[in-house]
């Protein structure tokens, strides 16, 4: 019998993240701060401790990252707006029930302005394109109630061109299938009600083959297992109602063994340094696997299922039933 999920320890870990202002790495990762706050918040929500971080402080932090030149959010005060941080900001404010603080029409305009003629989205005005940004755009527009302004055919057309023969998706047209890109394309298709674009048998097979003998999941053939794929792979499987195609017990044990049971947090694999990114995706994966004592997570948005349901945005995904005990 392996370790169980030490919720109080991980809650303390997340609470401690912003505390040490002397930590060099903390400052070197300011460009990811908005993302980090979102990862921390979702992990807390799933563990049932949403209030462990102060709501008002968090909202003020998000608003301090508003880039008024452009009408969107950066990762940190005075950092430029970007689609990645804009989505995280919207997700945080939605969970905190504070969306009214945002000029959502302006944000919608910013997001739509980033769509390229090919249908993909750029991350910002400097033009890097990636299906990740397409997903950010679709999720954000949906959360702020502006999805109807999107050219769906154009968007779906690009996703279709990224589909590979193995059923998976890459970052751009022609790119190799990668589990994270699979998630972003499948999630976007789910929101747009275009799951008909998937070859579910082929993709389900490719995703199931991500499970390694140690129970962990990798992101591509012959790569190492990593806890974050517990989310990317698992969420795509749950959207296709195929979580049973992998061994849930072994994956659960793998995630739990990647916990840092001394200082808290979850790492990419056992023995490595934990971080809030892997803590979030580890806990998210456990929730989808039915681990007892956790809240339901919506795999399309990677947000609490109750929040997404309340907004009427829930799609037909299926997680494993929540077990009564470990």
């Amino acid at each position: 019998m392996g370790p169980t999920l030490d919720i109080p320890l991980h809650v303390k870990y997340i609470q401690s993240l912003g505390e040490n202002k002397d930590d060099l790495v903390y400052h070197l990762t300011a460009h990811l701060r908005m993302n980090a706050v979102y990862w921390g918040l979702v992990a807390l929500c799933v563990m049932g401790h949403k209030d462990a971080l102060d709501r008002d402080e968090m909202i003020e932090y998000v608003m301090s990252c508003w880039d008024d030149d452009v009408g969107a959010f950066g990762a940190h005060p005075d950092h430029d707006a970007h689609l990645l941080s804009t989505l995280c900001a919207i997700q945080i404010l939605t969970i905190q029930d504070a969306l009214e603080r945002v000029d959502t029409a302006r944000v919608a305009k910013y997001i739509l302005s980033l769509q390229q003629p090919s249908g993909v989205f750029a991350g910002d005005s400097f033009g890097e394109v990636d299906t990740r940004f397409l997903c950010c755009a679709v999720l954000a527009l949906s959360l702020i109630g502006h999805l109807h302004e999107l050219d769906v055919e154009k968007t779906v057309g690009y996703i279709r061109r990224c589909r590979n023969f193995d059923g998976g998706f890459g970052a751009q047209e022609g790119a190799e299938s990668h589990a994270a890109q699979v998630f972003v394309c499948v999630a976007a298709l789910a929101v747009l009600d275009r799951l008909d674009e998937l070859d579910e048998d082929m993709l389900g097979w490719w995703l199931a083959e991500r499970q390694l003998p140690n129970g962990g999941l990798n992101g591509r053939p012959e790569k190492l297992e990593d806890v974050c794929y517990s989310f990317w792979v698992l969420s795509a499987l749950s959207i296709m109602n195929k979580i049973p195609w992998i061994n849930d017990e072994k994956l659960t044990q793998f995630i739990l063994s990647a916990q840092d049971l001394e200082h808290g947090g979850i790492a990419d694999r056992p023995g490595d340094q934990p971080d809030v990114f892997h803590t979030n995706f580890g806990v998210a994966g456990l929730s989808l696997l039915g681990y007892p004592g956790l809240e339901d997570l919506d795999p399309v948005y990677c947000m609490p299922a109750s929040v997404i349901e309340a907004k009427g945005l829930r799609k037909g995904w299926k997680a494993l039933p929540r077990r009564a005990s470990a």
Binding site: L24, H31, D80, H82, P221, E222, W245, D268
Partner: protein, 330 residues
């Protein structure tokens, strides 16, 4: 963060670490404040440019500073400069990013800045040769990306960048040369799915353009794959590529032949999950595509062979038993 081993510090060691970092941190914060202040005031001078260089050396993931650097180039340094000097500035930035990529081969922002630099290259050196500078850069880019792929043959940033270069270079390389490149990577390591993937894209494009005879070329690919399969039947890359080659199964004789070939391998390696998984897939493909024209006996035979294989798969690959179960329920 990925692949960072846990380090346990004693409280003394931790205090010492914090002390060492305190000076670095103070410097970093002061530099950041300076750069962001100048950015806020739209200062586009060579001095502010040098400050961004300094800051990016410490933190090449600071995307806002890359943005500022680009704006300095566009609004401050490029205007009023002759094309040759603009070219030099871009050349310096490309060298800078090459150095950064050696330490940080998977940072999106660095790859992106490279791409941006290439897009800014002016016409030159002369009116008669407007693509001269561009072509020189693009050739060099291919060289840089090849070094990156030698260091990490699965680096998808590098593969994506490679595809970008091949698509955008003013004077295109031949698709044939890319086929040769992928073959080299595959022969260096059959496990390199990124190379197999690239090969499938190049071949698809050559076949679609009618530049290569699909049937003859597929046969060569089946030979290549068979060799790889026999060398390491456990490598999934090869089996995924084989599934692509078979595709929708347009040529029934080819599908039947490959089934026979895989069966031979299975006879030698009776626990080969990939042989069994592939046989199930291809037999089901035969049934779907050609079942209606088959004698009943053959159809039933294929069906029961699949069930037998699926039962074996449940035993040797129990993690995925539900999938084999679901497949059996057809």
């Amino acid at each position: 963060m990925h692949g960072v081993k846990q380090v346990r510090y004693s409280s003394e060691a931790l205090a010492a670490k914090r002390e060492r970092e305190r000076a670095k941190l103070a410097e970093y914060q002061s530099l950041t404040a300076k750069v962001l202040a100048k950015k806020g005031e739209s200062v586009w001078t060579p001095e502010s440019f040098a400050l961004t260089t300094k800051l990016l050396h410490v933190n090449p993931e600071f995307y806002t500073v890359w943005n500022y650097r680009r704006n300095i180039l566009l609004n401050g340094l490029f205007p009023e400069r002759p094309p040759a000097e603009i070219n030099d500035l871009l050349s310096d930035d490309l060298s800078l990013t090459t150095a950064f990529l050696k330490q940080h081969p998977k940072v999106y922002w660095i790859w992106n800045h490279r791409q941006w630099c290439l897009q800014q290259v002016p016409d030159g050196p002369t009116e008669a040769e407007p693509h001269g500078w561009r072509q020189a850069y693009w050739n060099k880019e291919l060289f840089v990306v090849e070094r990156m792929l030698d260091a990490d043959p699965r680096n998808f940033h590098a593969w994506n960048y490679r595809r970008y270069i091949l698509k955008e270079m003013p004077v295109k390389r031949t698709a044939q040369s890319e086929l040769t490149y992928t073959k080299r990577k595959i022969e260096a390591n059959f496990s390199n799915f990124s190379a197999w993937h690239q090969r499938s894209k190049v071949l698809s494009s050559l076949w679609a353009a009618g530049k290569l005879d699909k049937i003859k070329s597929s046969e060569e690919e089946f030979d290549l794959v068979k060799n790889a399969m026999y060398t390491d039947p456990n490598d999934q890359s090869v089996w995924i590529y084989h599934r692509w080659l078979i595709g929708p199964g347009d040529d029934q004789a080819v599908v039947e032949r490959e089934i026979a070939s895989i069966q031979e391998l299975l006879d030698e390696q009776p626990d080969s999950k990939w042989c069994m998984e592939s046989l199930v897939f291809y037999k089901r493909l035969l049934l779907r595509r050609y079942g209606d024209h088959m004698p009943d006996e053959r159809r039933q035979e294929l069906g029961s062979e699949c069930l037998e294989l699926l039962a074996k798969l449940q035993e040797i690959d129990p993690d995925r038993r539900r999938r084999y179960d679901d497949l059996g329920a057809f």
